[in-house]
Symmetry: C2
């Protein structure tokens, strides 16, 4: 009977930051060695960061990643960690212009083995068939007499391939390194896929996942170890860097390790949003954010998330009342800022609106949009002067139906709740306030922001429900039509009112078109004789000097 202490280091990497990521690997390997671990595993594409999109295709980046792997192996040995077996992710090169998605095994100052991901996901948020070539060879590493088979993320979600080959080889442990983005309820699906593979190889499975925000994705960690029969033997918490230590046994029953508490649904989503914003701000070199505070629930929730992410003292809230803003809105905006300890300023937009309207005769939607755009320009001016990242505060429901002004309230570098529907905005706000009350703290969101009827306040007496179905209904139709790609036939079969379906479907179609038609800042649609490079926003990689 042999024992092997392993450490699953769920760390927060940054795309392109080869140096910083390697330093993190060295520091966590030291911690693992101090804890007596003989094998320490890091998430998918540890050194390069993930997802790296077309950055992977750049020859000079591939060369630098190769060097970084070799340097890391040598540095670990120099630091007296050469006898620990370290599994890190990077890119594998050697073939054509496309690399592989690779796990390398470092020991004794050298790369002693590698494994290239076989199943490349190419749906939803994944584009891996575009940037990687698949591997087709299984890899087994001997660590103190324990045979450890390697796999990367998607490899355990599909049948066949290298895991099937490992089953024939025989392994004592299946080690899977992952960059698995957070989705609500996904933990359950991960456990199911992992259990199927553990059964297939008749061995325990150790799953290590990355954590942190990267561009518009959030990685939640939640690493775990399963026994061959699917029993959860050990688990790590979500949304924090963590090292899960567990002792594998060969020739005997497996022993359980530490188990993390699970989060309830609203807390899980809220912490995902905080993690996403934290990563975006820090990894892009910002230290502060600015946002418009309207007194409504959306901007109040975003302010609370921002305060939890980077501290209320690094949040600038700007009240930008127009002639249609109600007194309660102005009060609630100021109150929100006070509750979270934000810097609060008031910039009335009436003079700017007047300057435009005396030059251009505007009415209807054009006049409403003008107000929103004056606010967008104000926030960008503050950003340009003071360096804050502008946050957009739109929620998924209003973005889906086009209740948003392009170059107006849509202005911003990051939109924390763009994938959170209005029903959820209320639920998260209530959860966050109750969470504060439970801890004897001041609830960050004014109660009246939660209870009052939603309004854009772009004309007198306007409320959202004048022109939209009730939000609980709207959100259900959006979910079915947008997220689950159901057609009119399927929507009607669910029992939705045909008028509501017609209204929502036509609003969504029009909004989606507008969004694509007037896409970005400078990267607008135009004649292109090649596609813009697909690169991550957050990317620390710079061409090396020669």
């Amino acid at each position: 009977m042999a024992e092997l202490r392993i450490a699953l280091a769920q760390i927060d990497t940054c795309v392109g930051d080869l140096t910083g990521n390697a330093e993190a690997v060295a520091a966590w390997t030291r911690k693992a060695a101090d804890a007596g671990a003989r094998l320490v595993a890091f998430p998918e594409m540890t050194l390069t960061g993930y997802p790296i999109e077309d950055l992977a295709l750049r020859a000079s980046f591939q060369r630098a990643a190769d060097s970084a792997v070799r340097a890391l192996a040598a540095d670990l040995a120099t630091a007296g960690l050469g006898d620990v077996t370290v599994v890190v992710g990077s890119v594998g090169t050697g073939g054509g212009s496309r690399p592989t998605n690779r796990a390398v095994v470092l020991r004794g100052g050298e790369v002693i083995a590698h494994y290239d991901k076989h199943h490349l996901p190419n749906y939803g948020v994944f584009d891996e068939a575009r940037i990687f070539v698949p591997g087709d060879q299984p890899a087994v590493v001997d660590v103190d007499g324990v045979r450890v088979g390697l796999a990367i993320c998607e490899d355990i979600w599909r049948e066949g391939g290298t895991v099937e080959q490992l089953a024939a080889h025989g392994v004592d442990l299946l080690l899977v390194i992952n960059g698995s983005p957070y989705e609500e309820g996904k933990t359950h699906l991960r456990l199911e896929s992992a259990a199927a593979r553990a059964a297939q190889v008749s061995a325990p499975l150790a799953y290590v996942n990355m954590v942190g925000g990267q561009d518009d994705l959030v990685f939640d960690g939640g690493s775990f170890v399963l026994d061959a029969d699917g029993t959860v033997l050990a688990s790590a918490p979500q949304f924090v860097e963590h090292m899960l230590v567990w002792d594998a046994t060969t020739g005997g029953a497996q022993r359980p390790g530490p188990q993390a508490q699970t989060l309830d649904a609203d807390e899980e989503v809220y912490r995902a949003l905080v993690t996403g914003l934290t990563g975006y701000v820090r990894k892009n070199g910002f230290t502060s954010v600015v946002l418009g505070l309207s007194g409504g629930i959306d901007s109040a929730l975003v302010a609370a998330i921002a305060a939890d992410a980077i501290g209320g003292e690094n949040v600038v809230g700007v009240g930008m009342p127009s002639r249609y803003s109600s007194d309660h809105s102005k009060d609630d905006a100021a109150d929100t800022a006070k509750r979270i300890g934000a810097d609060y300023r008031v910039v009335p937009i009436a003079p700017m609106v007047d300057a435009f309207e005396s030059n251009l005769h505007l009415e209807g939607v054009a006049a409403e949009n003008l107000q929103a755009r004056m606010r967008g320009v104000t926030l960008m001016a503050l950003s340009n002067m003071e360096g804050h990242l502008v946050l957009a505060t739109g929620n998924k429901s209003e973005l889906a139906v086009g209740y948003s002004t392009i170059y107006g309230d849509a202005v911003g570098g990051f939109a924390p709740i763009k994938d959170v529907d209005k029903s959820r905005v209320w639920a998260l706000s209530r959860w966050r306030n109750n969470h504060a009350i439970d801890r004897g703290e001041i609830p960050p969101i004014p109660e009246s922001s939660i209870t009052k009827p939603p309004s854009a306040e772009l004309r007198p007496g306007q409320v959202d429900q004048d022109s939209l179905p009730p939000y609980h209904l709207l959100d259900e139709v959006i979910d079915a039509y947008v997220e689950r790609s159901e057609g009119r036939a399927e929507l009607l079969a669910r029992g939705f009112d045909p008028e509501v379906v017609d209204r929502v479907v036509s609003l969504v179609d029009r909004a989606e078109w507008k969004r694509r038609q007037y896409p970005p800042g400078p990267k607008v649609t135009g004649v292109a004789f090649g596609r813009d490079r697909r690169l991550p926003v957050t990317n620390r990689w710079r061409e090396p000097a020669v």
Copy 2:
């Protein structure tokens, strides 16, 4: 010896417009029949439009495309065209959620055969591995005793697969339907790939390509027929809908058909830009455009392209002078509008700028950006009031190095010259003016706009060359670094000055990051628990009523 008259119908389709595309097929089939053709071939994904991105994955769309194919077959027969063999592109369904990229063969009111594309391109502008499953069966159709093998676009650019199988089968003609986007110099590459396949199957090859603008791509037509030895037997012009008729011969030498004139390099690019803008405006339901006229060459060239695309009377030019605008700029702006017959208006931005500056103290880049943003808001206000599409006038050089204001001059739904560098802007402007002179027309671009030093006029005396390398040098470095993905080592090996390389590389990296960081209107980066649907901008598809 048998003869078969074929017609290659290079038509302009629209994504999602199943009805309109089917009507076009019927109309052109009538023309082909009138010209005595027995076989008429249309471009890749004729009925659905191309490229359709994730629209292909929508089950209700797949069902509608299936119905459209069957209805078209029946309609052709009803119209007395049942004895013509018609090859059209669509999606093939039946398997899982992903369809195939399919060619269907219609005759006698029925679908008599189909072929599913084997090689799916997944690089550059193509994402086909994401949305289609590959086919693996070759298809040969007998038309009046002539054996016609089928292939789709990428199938002839790579070795192996169904074309290799056709070579073993033996065919009299290889028919290739294409959606091949325009790139400068690509005609040559297409002929090379086609010649290799014609030799492989020992038969002539007929190549039909789509034409027209679709989102940010331009398709140039340029259909052709090659003999088995690579000789061009017939060719169609670029950038126009056209039917190329040619008589195939079996058991004897092939006879040549009509040959189109080739365009010189500047004319080819200019016509690609006009085609791209025409398609975007028309297919998205606009009839007019609005753009800022600064008096500089970029906005003058865009105005000329717009006038050529949709007529000068449908162009609104807006002069938006600031306190830094020179008199010659104002004169040249008015002159540009007059030359192309555009509606011209002047909206001075000083009052709006003053209204902001009396509320917010702005200096440096923040003050420069404010001016650009007042112009962006003005154009959007006119668009909202009057329904024009806003054109952004930035060129590739300035966008690449970040000489552009997000939510300012970058505002717009379409940017005709975003992929045209400044050196090319001058060349195209000269070509367009000379072209007018050759035809005895008024040159659209004021001579002084071409000759004066470029300036953003955002502060007194500012010119681009104060802070940028000369444009001919800048454009070369951008081309190597951005388009050809060369690293610093490769750039220096080309002999570029290290200081210029450092300057340009750091500007490009920063601009690219800014562009990604502050991307679009409402579709800003933010926490997403799924990726936004990837849909075309131009998309006529609407959920059918049930």
